[in-house]
């Protein structure tokens, strides 16, 4: 394959990663922005979403589309419930102290991960996509006889991957409307702006925090359900999304949702593109160093406001 089609393919693969990372990162950003909690266990909510999706899809098992649709609805709710429970049992008792919650969520990370290992086992398990048509993509080639439409071998995607990209866009847009146009979105934004003032106006801040934590986890789970037909469910799969969404949240400016989405897209795309052309390990080394340096020299992120 020539460079052009190869790059196009890399961009397509990158867009799938970008879609999933943006969803996961928005969840992390929401939790950090409103609760000021760095949720290290966020990647495990992603993993739980994938595992629950596998469990639902295999136990329904009439038709892949039915199982998948059920997973798409039930998995985020189940994971959100687990998150709300951990908020009630652990985080709220720590009074949301930034340092102690980090340590506690590290503990939760191991608890979720190892509990999954004990029940789900160490194997990677696939979920069948609801539909999966191979779509060949034409390529325009400039030759001596003018523009030619060719069909390079291997330049193809699947309808399911396009669905993932589309679904992620719709979910993010819906979340935006929810935050900007609904009463509950207003309450969440008010809590973010000034927790004490919100309490003074009679907003039940504790309950808002539980809902936000559940919503953040549910977004990660949604991302996982979308990607699991492409990637397989595994008990250690939470590491990469955690790292990448961390990077997105930091580069985008801590707590800034548009920044996070933009950074998620950039990071997902570049992860896809760099991994195709260079060693994925080298790409990750550069990405982690970049995050550290952004935090050191531009702590407000790229789109965040200066303090």
């Amino acid at each position: 394959m020539d460079f052009g089609p190869h790059l196009f393919l890399a961009i397509l693969e990158g867009a799938v990663t970008a879609a999933v990372i943006s969803l996961t990162a928005v969840g992390l950003s929401l939790v950090f922005g409103i609760m000021r909690v760095v949720n290290v266990a966020h990647g495990e909510f992603f993993m739980l979403g994938a595992v629950v999706a596998w469990w639902i899809a295999t136990s329904i098992g009439i038709h892949p589309a039915l199982g998948f649709t059920a997973a798409l609805i039930i998995a985020p709710i189940a994971v959100g419930a687990i998150a709300a429970l951990s908020d009630r049992l652990v985080l709220s008792r720590l009074e949301y102290d930034p340092e102690r919650t980090i340590v506690a969520t590290i503990g939760l990370l191991y608890v979720f991960q190892q509990a999954t290992l004990m029940t789900f086992g160490p194997d990677a398990r696939p979920v069948e996509p609801p539909f999966n048509h191979r779509l060949a993509i034409p390529w325009i080639e400039i030759s001596e006889s003018g523009l030619n439409l060719t069909w390079p071998w291997g330049l193809a995607t699947t309808s399911y991957k396009l669905f993932v990209i589309g679904a992620a866009c719709i979910i993010v847009a819906a979340l935006w409307v929810f935050l900007q146009r609904t009463r509950f979105g207003l309450i969440m934004r008010a809590t973010q702006l000034d927790r004490e003032m919100a309490t003074a106006f009679g907003i039940p801040v504790r309950r808002v925090y539980s809902v936000v934590f559940a919503l953040g986890a549910a977004l990660a789970a949604l991302g996982a359900v979308l990607i699991v037909p492409v990637q397989q469910a595994h008990y250690l799969m939470g590491g990469d999304p955690l790292l990448l969404s961390f990077i997105a949240v930091i580069i985008g400016g801590l707590g800034s949702l548009p920044g996070t989405i933009l950074a998620g897209v950039i990071i997902g795309m570049s992860d896809g593109i760099i991994s195709v052309f260079f060693s994925p390990t080298l790409a990750k080394i550069l990405a982690t160093l970049l995050v550290a340096l952004v935090l050191i020299f531009r702590p407000q992120g790229l789109l965040g406001r200066a303090p």
């Binding site: 008792r93 340590v103 503990g107 190892q114 004990m118 080394i285 982690t288 550290a292 935090l295 050191i296």
Partner: protein, 312 residues
Amino acid sequence: MTVREGLLHFVLLGILVLLFFVVSDYHDGNWARIMVLAVYAVGYNLLFGYTGLLSLGHALFFATGMYGLALPIQHLGFAPVPAFLSALVCAAVVSSAVGFLALRTSGVAFMIVTLMFAQAGFLLSLYAGRYTRGDEGFVIPQSARIIAGIDFSDPTIRYFAAFFVFAAAYLLIAWLIRTPFGKCLVAIRENEDRARMLGYDVHFHKLVAVILSGTVSGAAGAAYAFLFGYAGATFASVQYSILPLLWVLLGGAGTTIGPLIGTAFAFYLIDFSSDLTTAHLLVVGLAIVLLTLFAPLGLAGEVRKRIVGWLP
């Protein structure tokens, strides 16, 4: 250092010597490991317990010490003593660089920056798989673990070598926190702004604390590689940044005896739970959650709060 503190240190180290003759060979092996890992915890405690800086990237220093010793032995044919010095120098250099950059941030950002540096170090050890052999790691041959005719792979020698390293690190920190420098670190932990207002160079003190803590952690990594004859990328992973935090939290942050107590407790907790389930990290996770919820001061910290107020 008061008399009763000196007595406490003497009794603690005496118990460790006696322990060798009391417990079985199996537990001797465990305790050699615990003491070396406790050196790591002692180093971590200086930064987290006394200076109040929570680092999530100490595996970088541990692994730097480990590779700083193992790679020269393996590829350059270094003798053990120069290799150990090389490990200390590497750890000091890496911790200076990390300290210089990471201390420009504070709080949550400091944790994430150290975490990211450690992650980059871990990935680098995988990327340089040609030399480090990545996850698989490599064994340091027994022939390279002999100093002046003494074979350090022998269990008895190994136990007392581990004891010696632990005693050195333990006494160094116990002495340091009683010096004006150490007291300034505690002052920074308690109230950074006040320490600055009193005229202390807060940044300089923190930087030295990071370097000392990183170098002690590196010494632990080097001792681990040398005494147990193995170096691998696992020791650079996030898990090994979390473990010293767990040990110090368990034992009691900001106490001299806490790191050893916490390491031993966690070691036997994991040893015990490995018999029950393969998912022994579940116990680690639960221990962390329960500790942050119910005993944020740790074992020695609770003892100091309730019974012995003078515990250093």
